[in-house]
Symmetry: D2
Subunit: 361 residues, 4 copies
């Protein structure tokens, strides 16, 4: 890779935008050259635009400090500067749909954190280790919409910890019939400021708006197949999700009970499948791909968010406590870092895959 690919971030001043800035400012393949946000921030240097509300623990990278923030709605400002846009804009759904389409029309590869396009049948919703081949829909997407660019999205931040374990089993030939999952989700998943301290000291909240619905629908699309120019969801798997907010900064934990559709592996085989699992991001040595992508913990009380969320620079999935389920076949615990693997990091891995596969240049 001779020179770095020039990239932009829209919605660059928000919590997820800041995570993009943090992760991309030391990226071996990408270079931030364009930052855009709402008109309020436009015209300010990035350091000034986020003054008093920079939430990352590390300071802003020096060469990003002075980039003048543009108005994200003035798409032409980005033309000629970069070819790939990470989108973290916080707007109404319809406005996001139109804005991201406009960037795609003008030739940008848009990798979005938003849910706006997740249900669109020609927009891949990517977990790179799983449905990397959904990128093959892109030419059809471009043709249909008349886009020179493209749009790819990442799924909701709550599902990564079990999607990869499930997929590893499916890829090894074991179909999953159903899963009941209960998540214990970190507050950073709610953006900033998120839940009030007074509501989470000595407390948990057994509800997160819209989260259970997303957790039940998005996996089917991710496990789906391209047929007739669209991504057809896999309706064979049934998922029921209970989503709870707990007083943890980062790291979503999932308690999963799964039932296989037909034959089932024994427990040793499950662990062996998980430990051996590897996928194109690992094989292509994408810079953000964790090696290995999944870590099985032998300790009886792991994974735990405080201790395991940073594995693989926050990109690895940790699993543990595989045991028989009294009702279904097996139970296990999955954990992932929600703002890295589940958000900005996951999108960056998808962008790396786009580059490695030639969808962006």
């Amino acid at each position: 890779m001779k020179s770095k690919l020039k990239v932009g971030i829209i919605g660059a001043t928000g919590m997820i935008g800041q995570n993009y800035v943090r992760l991309l400012s030391r990226h071996p393949w990408f270079e931030i050259v364009y930052l855009a946000a709402s008109p309020n921030s436009a015209g300010k240097k990035y350091a000034d635009a986020v003054a008093g509300r920079w939430h990352m623990r590390e300071p802003i990278a020096k060469d990003v400090n002075d980039i003048v923030v543009e108005d994200a709605s003035l798409v032409d400002k980005a033309v000629g500067k970069c070819s790939l846009i990470f989108s973290a804009v916080e707007m109404e759904k319809q406005a996001i749909i139109e804005l991201e389409a406009e960037y795609a029309r003008k030739g940008f590869a848009v990798v979005s954190n938003n849910s706006a396009y997740r249900a669109a049948e020609d927009v891949p919703c990517i977990i790179p280790e799983i449905n990397h081949d959904h990128l093959a829909i892109i030419p059809q997407q471009q043709k249909k919409h008349g886009w020179k660019g493209l749009i790819v999205v990442k799924p909701n931040c709550s599902i990564q910890s079990y999607m990869i374990p499930l997929y590893a089993l499916m890829k090894a030939g074991y179909s999953i019939d159903k899963m009941i999952v209960t998540t214990l989700q970190a507050v950073s998943g709610a953006g900033y400021p998120g839940p009030a301290s007074i509501d989470l000291i000595d407390n948990i909240i057994p509800f997160i708006t819209g989260e259970e619905e997303k957790s039940e629908v998005e996996p089917r699309k991710i496990f789906g197949k391209i047929e007739g120019g669209k991504i057809v969801p896999d309706s064979s798997i049934k998922i029921s999700a209970h989503c709870n907010r707990v007083p943890v900064t980062d790291g979503h934990t999932a308690c999963c009970s799964i039932q296989f559709a037909g034959k089932k592996p024994d427990m040793d085989e499950v662990i062996s499948i998980w430990r051996k699992f590897s996928a194109p991001p690992q094989e292509l040595k994408l810079p953000s791909a964790p090696i290995p992508p999944m870590i099985y913990c032998d300790e009886v009380n792991r994974p735990q968010p405080q201790k395991d969320r940073d594995e693989g620079n926050g990109m690895a999935i940790t699993v543990g406590r595989l045991r028989k389920c009294n009702v279904f076949d097996y139970r296990f615990i999955g954990l992932h870092h929600n703002t890295v693997r589940g958000a900005a990091g996951g999108s960056i891995l998808a962008a790396e895959l786009l580059l490695a596969r030639g969808y962006v240049k």
Copy 2:
């Protein structure tokens, strides 16, 4: 009730013992006259025996302060003083079995917090709203062991929040086939000191020793029937439990997915059944019986431990979020106060039932 029934507490200096002291020192039916613990505490006034390790927020009741603590193993010390013993001793299982039997042999009604006798087929494991009629095994228990007294136990502290909702549905004619439940349990359930701060700040622990097994086995006995001189568990219901420790002081939350065996009620009927549910403890107006025993919360994000655990003086079950389950029939959240309803308060309610039904005088 002319004069109060004289009662004793063995294991009176530990965390659960202290809860008994707290709840019984203002009880309308019971009067504490006997406190016993390990030989270390024997001979000391109660206030001195717990000095520096009294964990209740309220101070020790004045008339309890000066009671001289006895050695719990010297059972004869209790004879003539009281007729009912609350047991919260912390010993090896076999030692508890022998000690509680010795008290029963000497004529005491023993109501125990310990798990030692929970599996015994002639010892009722009581949630008073559910299996009050298991007390009918007592004459056979007494005859078989040659006891003048009796032993009754309460179940593990993690199951009350869903057992009463399930039972209300069963009593209304709807059989439950299976349930997958994930609990978020408070630290007080682990006794004192319980989990270290450093392990629960910015963390959850997805494991509690022995808790899942108890949560899967004890319900079957509680839902069981007396047949042939023993309590025969209800093997028709299958339960799978994931138990997590969360940074909450008091209040266990349960996320439940249930499948009915045959016909199922619609959601309005479920809520109606829960709201109308009442049982002998309420009808007998037992002093610790919450009226109503169950509260259904309409708010979308309730129940929550911090806000709802003290309902009914810590004895009511709060439930909420009844909704369809993608995999089973329904899902809901249950919550109860683990050291009140789930421990000392639950035992005291059982003792009140023993008195009201004439098993102790």
Copy 3:
């Protein structure tokens, strides 16, 4: 007291307004008949106006549920309904000054939680156990402004835990020269939502906007004297305050080092003075007056917010750890419940004093 005094609350839908509703709805002397808030809430029943944002643990009292909320700026709506107004409006300082004056002009006794009038030289800033005699400024206040009613305010919520201990010593004849105090303040002191969870999990924040300044200035006024028609601050005492936000729901803790101006009591005498301290609110048996007002804890590690904040129904000050200071004379810890004693409860106690002393009828 034959019939209850009719009272109103302006700013009734906010966090402090809700605390007023909670505490006044079971008050023996006062009856809520008027609730007012911003135009958004006007015309709605109180229960509807706070739906989804009722933050008290107890439900709204039944007879308050249906009171129709008025627009607080339409002062005439209150005329004829009640004679005393508790103010918890959240507005710009100048707007509060004008609104509260308008209520006073129309004849209402206004007891305010706001800081707007705290520096006014003819408005008493009351901690009833300390400067009850500052009420004597009221006739002059009324005359000067042409008010039929009056305004009284309560001080900032962070100072009660040390003001009463200091005053008890001063009243016993020992002048305080200086104090350096560091507070560890609960999140409820910041209103709702207050600090974000993500900023207080595994963290403390060593800064609270404006808090140190208020903590250094207000005590001088409270310890002041009426001279020449105004309250002249006591400039003899010098206070330096460090204010920190900690992950505690309720209860502000203060670590105090004090230096006497002249003679100083020995430690036994200090404790004796604190334990014997009583003041007009106690002698008048005001319903909210804690008896005793101060509790000295013998335990070496007390007071603690979780264990001691509810003493005296949240109105008592708990102190402990009196010991020699290496730099000044003594050190001690003070604690009070910030939303009860430090806010609504403190204002209600002031209102009770106004009634008992005949300033309101």
Copy 4:
């Protein structure tokens, strides 16, 4: 440095011992070759000796896993293996004194985390940026006790955050007369398990056994001078410390008010002195020396433990909020990582200084 210096750790299985293992297993100058602990652990591989109680987030380094743990009391086992011993044994004070002396007698340079020798007038109590020249006492120490080796200790973990800021000012010519400091200390400072979760959820504890005394005495020795063969404490500075435990995993915060003895710098000069401060550990480029040693934060609400404790790999001191004090001259906030800078990391820096200055070879 051609080959690494071989070192040992006694008390290697405890919390501090584990921190040593963690920090030393990737150290450029030192190589772990000897691990010792209590007889219980002796004979086991290190990985087995700490199985189930390894509290570090990173796994044990591979080459340490298989080291067979020795009985720390059998000092001869270490002879010939290494020349420097890090001591983190947990024993009675007298036993520590004898054991560490025995290692010193046998020729080892002992760098100890324990308080046993802190008061000894010929044992340097080192914060390397401050009293590096106290190492000059070592020849006299060796001669007096007949040791071929030596003993150096590090001070209590609660004082580093203000000692270095104070020293920087003193070194610039400004004497400190007195300081009143209140600390908010992390739970890891209490070792494992430390405070129970139930005592620190929704709470703070205003007391830490022995901590205030150490915080008031040790600084005087550290600021002292070698005179007549002993380290004579600096009695000119008076310190009063209030020590609180707060629900934070790592990072002690200190709120400091200071009074100068004579002339005082203005605020800009103080900040300038702090920002320019450097000392022999930095000049010698010791591997653990943070560059810069102190960071002054401009943000009004910093430093904060969650955000700033890891500066300089946990070895830098962060300070902020310099402002005038109403009672003394100035106030400020200091913060340091208590288990790195305040414990194992501080000792390792001292050991690096011993090596750089030729006291150990």
